[in-house]
């Protein structure tokens, strides 16, 4: 099972959903990812600009560790199954209408900027508002998730080419 290249989305989704149990019981918070960008980005910025003060709590560091762990877990899973990836997914050639790696990296950079800027305005991302907020029946999180899919669909349909 650990060496399979793919699990059903249901098996994987159950594993992810169960992670709320240690998050709530042991850290007293819900799963989330985007605050870690503020923690890490803010600390790096404070080295350059002394006026920036980021107070990182144990809970903030838990989330940074969580996203670092995500990279480690994905790496282990990929090595066990042998599902090695090319440097850039083949879908981008069609989605961007270009096979230029430079073009893809610029789009990724700009997209990453918009993604985190938006997530911080909304006070959460796919994990914090999506997985955790919706499961907690939070009204604001539901609004954020509907807007996220609306913005994602509009961009994928109007800006990207069909893959």
């Amino acid at each position: 099972m650990l060496t399979n290249k793919a699990w059903s989305p249901y098996a994987a989704g159950i594993v992810i959903g169960l992670l709320q149990i240690p998050a709530f019981l042991l850290i007293e918070t819900a799963l989330g990812a985007s605050t870690s960008y503020v923690t890490v980005g803010g600390i790096i910025a404070s080295w350059i600009d002394r006026s920036i003060h980021v107070t990182a709590t144990s809970r903030n560091w838990w989330q940074v560790a969580l996203v670092v762990g995500i990279a480690i877990g994905a790496f282990i899973s990929m090595r066990l199954s042998g599902a090695r990836r090319r440097p850039i997914s083949p879908i981008w050639r069609r989605a961007l209408g270009s096979s230029s790696p430079a073009r893809r990296c610029v789009v990724a950079f700009v997209g990453g900027f918009i993604m985190l800027f938006g997530a911080r305005i909304a006070d959460g991302c796919t994990s914090g508002h999506g997985l955790s907020g919706v499961a907690q029946l939070a009204v604001g999180s539901t609004v954020a998730v509907v807007a996220m899919f609306a913005g994602g669909i509009a961009t994928a349909m109007l800006v990207l080419r069909r893959i």
Binding site: A6, A12, G13, I14, V15, G17, Q20, F24, L25, L31, A33, Y37, G41, G42, A45, S58, W62, A65, L66, G69, I70, A71, G73, A74, M78, A83, R84, R86, S89, P90, A95, A108, V110, G111, F113, I114, M115, F117, G118, I121, A122, C125, T126, S127, G130, G133, A135, A138, V139, G140, V143, A144, V145, M148, F149, A150, G151, T155, V159, L160
Partner: protein, 196 residues
Amino acid sequence: MSLAFAVGLGIAMGIVFGFALEKSRVFEPGMIVGQMQLRNFIMLKVFLTAVATGAIALAVLNGLGYVKLQPRAAAWAANAVGGLLLGAGISLTGACPGTTLAQIGAGYRDAWFTLIGGLLGAVTFLYAQPAINKTFLGQSGSSLVFTDLVGVPYWIGALVLAAVCIVILVVLERWSPWRNDMGNDVDGDLPAKISK
């Protein structure tokens, strides 16, 4: 809670999270862009399954009084505008803030640019926050929860939500089986438009 415990637990939970993201293939740009172009439903399936599982777990934990819920404050304009931008970024990166790290772990090099762009976006927000808070985007309300509005206990609402998710998933799977969405190399790279 000690820092060492928080970091150790975070890494351990992250490894499980990253493992599940990689196995489900939902971290693939082909799955994310495919979902947003409505021709691939892996993302929605993983998402709804995780929401249903989390809701059931929280219904039990909260219903028995073991945990307090932590719903975020509802801020209509910020949730809507931020959500739209977040979604646009998700389509352009083919990732979300968490799965960007899964892409890096699995070997996608362009994800490093997503990460750097994301860090810069988060820092830019830190600088812009005082100005943003003075606009309509700075108005935050209290944390509204659907079950409080209706006047029933959370656990009942959470179980109803889980049931709704499961019904949607059953219908979705019948209409579009997950194996058909895997693509060439479990990357969501599907052959040119097939008619369903």
